[in-house]
C-alpha cells in the first residue's frame, strides 16, 4: 500500500528526515516510536503533504501512485488521513459543517453524490457514540476551546467518519486518560480491516496494549534504526532508547 524509499526532508535548510524507508501493506499496523525531536511528526506531515517541509530526496508510492506528486487534499481524497499531534483550532467553522464539507469533497472526487442531511446525521451520531464524544462538540467551532483529550477524540471521530485507507496517528494517545484511551482505541480498532493500514506514532507502549502492532520501528535522528515486533516496544518501554544508541555506535565503530 505504502512504500517509502530513502526519504529525505528538510525545513529551512535543516535536514530532519535523513533517509527513511518503510513498507506498509494493507491490513498491517505499524508503530513508530522514538524520542522527542527525532522526526516522527515531520514524517507524518510530509506524508500528508505539508509543503513547509521540502522533500530533498527519495520517493513515496501509495496504492501505485506517486504520493509526493499529489496535493494534500488529493491525498486525503485518496484515503490518507493524518490525526494531528496538535489538532488545529478553526474559529467560526462548526465541527459538523467542516466534516460534512470534507466528506462531500471526498465523495465528489470519487464521482459520488453529496451525502443527504439525515444520512449524514445518522452516521455522525453512530460515530460519536463509539468515541463517547459529547454531541455538543459537533456544533462548536472546530477544536476551539476543546480540552486536549477532546481534540484527540475529535481527530479519531473525523477519521471514523471519513474512513481512510491509510491512517497516520501522530501521538493520538498522549494526553488521554484511561477512559479516553479506551474510546479512542475502539475507534481505531473499528477502522482496522484487511484493506486498511495504520501507522501509529507513539511515545508509550500504552496504546499498543489496545491496538496490537504487527511491526514496531524506532526512529532516531531522522532515520529508522531498528525494526521489530511488539516485543521491541516493551523493551523500549523498559530500557529507553540509550541501548539502541549504544548498539548503533558499536555497529559504526
Amino acid at each position: 500500500m505504502l512504500s517509502i524509499q530513502n526519504l529525505h526532508a528538510s525545513v529551512g535548510g535543516k535536514d530532519i528526515l535523513k533517509g527513511i524507508s518503510l513498507e506498509v501493506k494493507a491490513g498491517e499496523v505499524h508503530a513508530i516510536m522514538g524520542p522527542n525531536g527525532s522526526g516522527k511528526s515531520t514524517l507524518s506531515k510530509v506524508l500528508a503533504g505539508r509543503d513547509e517541509y521540502e522533500v530533498t530526496a527519495g520517493s513515496v508510492s501509495y496504492l501505485g501512485k506517486d504520493l509526493l506528486d499529489l496535493s494534500p487534499e488529493d491525498r486525503a481524497r485518496e484515503g490518507v488521513f493524518l490525526a494531528f499531534q496538535y489538532p488545529v483550532e478553526i474559529p467560526g467553522v462548526s465541527n459538523i459543517m467542516f466534516l460534512r464539507t470534507a466528506l462531500n469533497e471526498i465523495r465528489k472526487y470519487h464521482g459520488r453524490e453529496p451525502v443527504e442531511a439525515p444520512e449524514f446525521l445518522k452516521l455522525v451520531r453512530e460515530k460519536t457514540r463509539i468515541l463517547d464524544l459529547d454531541e455538543s462538540l459537533l456544533k462548536r467551532p472546530v477544536n476551539e476551546g476543546f480540552s486536549g483529550g477532546e481534540k484527540k477524540r475529535n481527530e479519531i471521530f473525523q477519521m471514523a467518519v471519513l474512513e481512510p485507507k491509510l491512517a497516520i496517528l501522530d501521538e493520538t494517545d498522549s494526553g488521554l486518560d484511561i477512559d479516553a484511551l479506551r474510546a479512542v482505541s475502539e475507534g481505531i480498532n473499528k477502522l482496522k480491516s484487511s484493506e486498511n493500514a495504520i501507522i501509529m506514532v507513539t511515545h508509550y507502549q500504552r496504546l499498543l496494549d489496545y491496538i496490537v502492532p504487527d511491526f514496531v520501528h524506532v526512529l532516531l535522528n531522522g532515520k529508522i534504526v531498528k525494526s521489530g515486533n511488539r516485543e521491541l516496544a516493551l523493551e523500549l518501554e523498559e530500557k529507553g532508547y540509550d541501548w539502541i544508541r549504544e548498539e548503533l555506535k558499536e555497529e559504526t565503530a
Binding site: 500528508a48 496535493s71 487534499e73 488545529v88 467560526g92 467553522v93 459543517m97 464539507t101
Partner: protein, 433 residues
C-alpha cells in the same frame, strides 16, 4: 443640473436650494461655512487616507423631480423570504411608489415640524457637527437641497418587521438623509441598503442620525453595496439616552471609495452600544471606517468589532476612537479590529485610539493584520477540502464573527453569500442544524 466639485460657486448655489424634508435655519449657516472650506486633500488630516480624486474631478448630475426605478431594479436586494417594510430613496429622494409600509406597522414618517414638536432639542443637534473642526462633506450634507426622511417609532412600540430602507443611486450626486427617532422602550430593526445601477459612477454623501430615548432598542444594519465605480461617504451618529441599546453593523461590500463615519454618543447612563462592521474591498477599491464611541455617563458599555477583508490592490482603513469622559465611571469598552489580506498588494491600516478621563473603567483594544493561517489551511486540506474552498471557508468564518450577530437570519445568509460570491468562492456554506 450638475454638481461640479472642481467649481465651488456652482456647488454652493446648488446647496442653497431647498428640498423636501429640510429643517429650517440649518442650511444657510452650512452654505456660509462651506464657502470658506477648501476641498479636502491628502494634507487634510481627517481625509488623508481617503481617495477623493474621483469626486474632485467628477461632474455629477443631480436628480430632478422624476423617478425611474421599477420593481426588477430591486430584485437583487431582496433577502430571501424575509418580510420587510420597504422604503425606497432614489437618488436621495423618497420614491413613494416603491415604498410599502404595512398598515399594521407602528413606524411613522414625520415632517420636520412634527419632529421638532416631539423632540424640541433636535434643531440644535442637527446644526452641530460630528466633528469639532468643520468638515467639507459634513457641511455639504447639512445644506438643504436634500432633506431628511424622518422615521418615528412611538414609545413602547415594537416594529416586528424589519424596515428595509433602500437607497438607490442611478449615478448622480445625492445626499440621502435619514433621522430615526425611537421613543422610550420601543424596539426597531432597520436595514439600510445603499446600492444602485451597476454601471453608475455616482457620489453619495449621506447622513443618518439616531435618537434613542430611554430604554429604546435599535438594531441597525447598513449594507454599503454601491456600484463598483461609485463613491460613498456616510456619516452615522447615534444619540443614546439612558439604558438605550444601539446595535449597529455596517457591512461594506462595494464601491470605489467607501468611507463610513460612525459615531455613538452614550449621553445617558447605562447605555449599551454594539458597533460592528465588515469591510470587503477588492480590485483597486478603498474602504474606510472612522468610528467614535463617546462615553459620557457612568455604567455604559460598548463592544466594537470590525473585520476587514482585503483582496487585489484594495486598501482598508480602520480608525477607531473611544473616549471615556470624566464622569463616565464603570464604563466597559472593548474594541477589536482584524484584517485579512487576501493578496500581497492589499493593505490595511489600523489606528485605534483610546482617550480615557475616568479612573474606574475597563477598556480594551486590539488590532491585527494578517493573512489566512497556513496551519489552518493545511488542516482543512488534509481532510480533503480543496485549497480554494479552504480559503473561502476561513474567510467566511472571519466575516461570520460579525455577521452572525445580525438578528435577521435571512440577512445573515444573504450577506454571507454576497461576500463569498465577491471573493469568487466555489461554494456557499450553510449553517448546520
Amino acid at each position: 443640473m450638475t454638481a461640479d466639485f472642481s467649481q465651488k460657486s456652482g456647488l454652493v448655489k446648488l446647496a442653497g436650494l431647498t428640498g423636501a424634508g429640510a429643517f429650517p435655519g440649518i442650511s444657510e449657516k452650512a452654505v456660509k461655512t462651506l464657502e470658506t472650506l477648501p476641498f479636502p486633500d491628502r494634507k487634510t488630516e481627517f481625509w488623508k487616507y481617503s481617495r477623493l480624486d474621483g469626486v474632485k474631478s467628477g461632474s455629477f448630475t443631480v436628480a430632478g423631480n422624476s423617478f425611474s426605478l421599477t420593481e426588477p431594479d430591486l430584485e437583487a436586494v431582496r433577502f430571501g423570504s424575509a418580510e420587510t417594510d420597504r422604503i425606497v430613496l432614489e437618488d436621495g429622494r423618497l420614491n413613494q411608489q416603491m415604498t410599502a409600509i404595512h398598515s399594521g406597522s407602528p413606524v411613522r414618517m414625520l415632517t420636520p415640524d412634527q419632529a421638532l414638536e416631539l423632540f424640541p432639542g433636535l434643531a440644535d443637534r442637527l446644526t452641530g457637527g460630528t466633528a469639532a473642526i468643520p468638515d467639507y462633506f459634513a457641511e455639504l450634507g447639512k445644506t438643504s437641497f436634500s432633506g431628511f426622511l424622518i422615521l418615528f417609532l412611538p414609545a413602547g412600540k415594537v416594529q416586528k418587521r424589519p424596515v428595509h430602507l433602500i437607497s438607490y443611486t442611478t449615478g448622480t450626486f445625492s445626499q440621502p438623509k435619514l433621522l430615526v427617532l425611537s421613543g422610550k422602550s420601543s424596539e426597531l430593526t432597520l436595514i439600510e441598503h445603499f446600492t444602485g445601477k451597476s454601471s453608475a459612477a455616482g457620489f453619495t454623501n449621506s447622513d443618518v442620525r439616531f435618537l434613542t430615548e430611554e430604554n429604546a432598542v435599535v438594531h441597525h444594519v447598513r449594507i454599503v453595496d454601491e456600484p463598483a465605480e461609485s463613491a460613498h461617504i456616510g456619516r452615522i451618529e447615534a444619540w443614546m439616552q439612558t439604558n438605550s441599546v444601539w446595535n449597529s453593523r455596517v457591512i461594506t461590500l462595494g464601491g470605489k471609495m467607501v468611507r463610513n463615519q460612525i459615531t455613538a454618543r452614550l449621553e445617558g447612563e447605562g447605555a449599551n452600544c454594539r458597533m460592528e462592521g465588515v469591510y470587503l474591498a477588492t480590485g483597486s477599491s478603498h474602504a474606510e471606517n472612522i468610528t467614535l464611541i463617546d462615553h459620557q455617563k457612568p455604567n455604559g458599555t460598548s463592544q466594537e468589532t470590525f473585520r476587514g477583508i482585503l483582496g487585489g490592490e484594495a486598501t482598508g482603513v480602520f480608525d477607531g476612537k473611544i473616549i471615556v469622559q470624566k464622569g463616565a465611571q464603570k464604563t466597559f469598552a472593548n474594541q477589536s479590529n482584524k484584517n485579512l489580506l487576501l493578496s500581497d498588494q492589499a493593505t490595511a491600516d489600523a489606528k485605534p485610539q483610546l482617550e480615557i478621563y475616568a479612573d474606574d473603567v475597563k477598556c480594551y483594544h486590539g488590532a491585527t493584520v494578517g493573512q489566512l493561517d497556513e496551519t489552518q489551511l493545511f488542516y482543512l486540506q488534509s481532510r480533503g477540502i480543496g485549497k480554494d474552498m479552504a480559503r473561502a471557508l476561513l474567510t467566511h468564518a472571519f466575516a461570520l464573527d460579525v455577521l452572525r450577530g445580525i438578528p435577521v437570519p435571512a440577512i445573515v445568509t444573504w450577506l454571507d453569500h454576497q461576500i463569498l460570491d465577491r471573493l469568487n468562492s466555489p461554494v456557499h456554506f450553510g449553517e448546520e442544524e
